[in-house]
């Protein structure tokens, strides 16, 4: 791993017991809610808006928001290429809603010219449930996270329409539509654990960060 002057100097003053360093992409959306949950779980959290801010983190969360806006800003400010490199290099990344769209290899119903970072071998459809009037909350059984169901909030959320051989399904709605997926160090959910007090997804993600850091 290349060590820049900046990260080397930051690492020098870092206590060995410090939590994993996790960035939250802060171009737009509910990044503060993610930062709050991660800090509560003991992570050392920073907000990421510039390429150099990726150098000092061991994992990244892409929050909820508008995927078209995040894509545009990530390209304008030179974040797209280093993000793709980090994902290809195995950095753990967790995306919620717009973040899942950013991580999907293929996005349906995107705006003209919209790109994703990719990494998850899935096809995702934006706004799959319709307008805000169709946004909803429900309980999901997610065996990987234990017996207690996950209370999930879907806000103009996407759905995973097909899952390639490299990705696996973590959760589905009662009608079978896939709403949480995992592939190696990448994790994506159509819903927003960060606004319901649900911490198990973030813990699951932090375990990946700790295992790799």
């Amino acid at each position: 791993m290349t060590t820049s002057l900046r990260s080397a100097s930051l690492d020098a003053g870092r206590p060995a017991s410090a939590g994993p360093r996790v960035g939250v992409l802060a171009l737009q959306g509910d990044f503060r809610e993610h930062a709050h949950v991660l800090a509560t779980l003991g992570a050392e959290v920073s907000l990421v808006r510039r390429p150099e801010e990726l150098e000092t983190i061991d994992g990244l969360v892409i929050p909820g928001g508008e995927s078209s806006v995040m894509d545009k800003l990530s390209r304008m400010f030179g974040l797209q290429a280093p993000l793709k490199t980090a994902i290809a290099g195995g950095m753990p990344v967790y995306g919620t809603c717009a973040g899942l769209i950013m991580l999907a290899d293929t996005v349906l119903d995107a705006i003209a010219g919209q790109e994703s970072l990719g990494g998850l071998d899935v096809v995702v459809r934006r706004n799959a449930f319709g307008s805000q009037n169709q946004s909803f909350e429900t309980d999901l059984d997610i065996p990987a996270l234990g017996e207690v169901p996950v209370h999930a909030v879907f806000i103009r959320g996407p759905v995973v329409e097909s899952v390639g051989p490299d990705a696996s399904v973590l959760a589905s709605l009662a009608d079978g539509r896939v709403v949480a997926v995992e592939q190696g160090n990448l994790l994506g959910t159509s819903f927003h654990p960060e606004i319901t007090g649900e911490h198990r997804f973030h813990e699951y993600f932090l375990a990946k960060v700790r295992a790799r850091a």
Binding site: G29, G130, Q132, E137, I155
Partner: protein, 296 residues
């Protein structure tokens, strides 16, 4: 079998959470909506006339034609908001039936009821409402608003009223934070707001819903200043499509909102934008023409 619930407070307030750090733009045609989406708007407000035209043309301003709202919804994939008159619950029912993503009960339109605002709990579609101070914001939240925008003087390009109101709301929150519990009962009385909401604000130091700024924002620096003053995001009305180069200005305001605390970015995006909207100084407006004073 698990039960799914739509229209809950969490779902309504949640959409506003996802809009944070973004710019919501007034548009009057599907073509403008496309420009806004391409420039990075996080949502659009579908209108027949922007506030600057409502102001210059006068007359009663009402909900937009459903055909226009449908056409804008069909054009873009980002959320579409639309305005109902204050107290006009049937306009709000129509907007809900049109499947807009947010209803703005707005002082920019002519009020339909000078006593009551809409009972917003009765709707599945979330509402955003304007406020000039903390008491007004909490009264709207008590009526079911899922998002607040501080009022500026819409259609002027003069940001001074927006500044005044976001500062007012922030300073009133700060005062509550410093109070003892017994003082909060009197504060609730003076704010004319429910005690439970006043207590919540005193404990958390913020409104229970997302707070955007609106009215008079015309430049990237205006947007960045509102963000530095504590806004979660900005509405830009006449400021974009009444300017010389809407595409460039819209994209610049989006970038300045994300990098609001980085003057080098705000400087870079402010270059070569062409003419800003001409603007009207709020001080030159006779009191009956001040929209921010509508609502109570």
């Amino acid at each position: 079998m698990t039960v799914s619930e739509t229209g809950s407070s969490r779902v309504k307030r949640g959409l506003a959470e996802m809009l944070k750090g973004g710019v919501i733009m007034d548009v009057v045609t599907p073509e403008q909506a496309r420009i806004a989406e391409d420039a990075g708007a996080v949502a659009v407000m579908a209108l027949e006339r922007v506030p600057a035209d409502i102001r210059s043309q006068g007359g009663v301003a009402r909900m937009s034609d459903p055909d226009l709202i449908d056409a804008i919804i069909a054009e873009v994939s980002i959320p579409v908001m639309a305005k109902a008159r204050i107290g006009h619950f049937v306009e709000a029912q129509v907007l809900q039936a049109l499947d807009v993503d947010y209803i703005d009960e707005s002082e920019v339109l002519s009020p339909a009821d000078y006593v009551n605002h809409i009972d917003k709990w009765a709707f599945n579609t979330p509402f955003v409402c304007g406020a000039t101070n903390l008491g007004e914001a909490l009264r709207r939240i008590n009526e079911g608003a899922a998002m607040i925008r501080s009022k500026g003087e819409a259609g002027t390009g003069d940001v001074s009223e927006a500044t005044k109101h976001i500062r007012k709301i922030s300073s009133e929150i700060n005062v509550l934070r410093s109070m003892t519990k017994d003082e909060l009962y009197v504060a609730a009385k003076e704010l004319q707001a429910p005690y439970e909401l006043v207590l919540e604000v005193a404990e958390t130091g913020k409104l229970p819903v997302v707070l955007f700024v609106a009215g008079g924002v015309a430049t990237p620096a205006d947007a960045a200043m509102m963000m530095q003053l504590g806004a979660d995001g900005v509405f830009v009305g006449s400021g974009i499509f009444k300017s010389g180069n809407p595409e460039a200005r819209a994209a610049a305001v989006v970038k300045a909102t994300t990098f609001y605390d980085d003057p080098s970015v705000v400087a870079a995006v402010s270059r070569g934008l062409g003419e800003a909207m001409v603007g009207i100084n709020v001080a030159d407006l006779a009191a009956p023409h001040r929209l921010a004073e509508r609502g109570w």
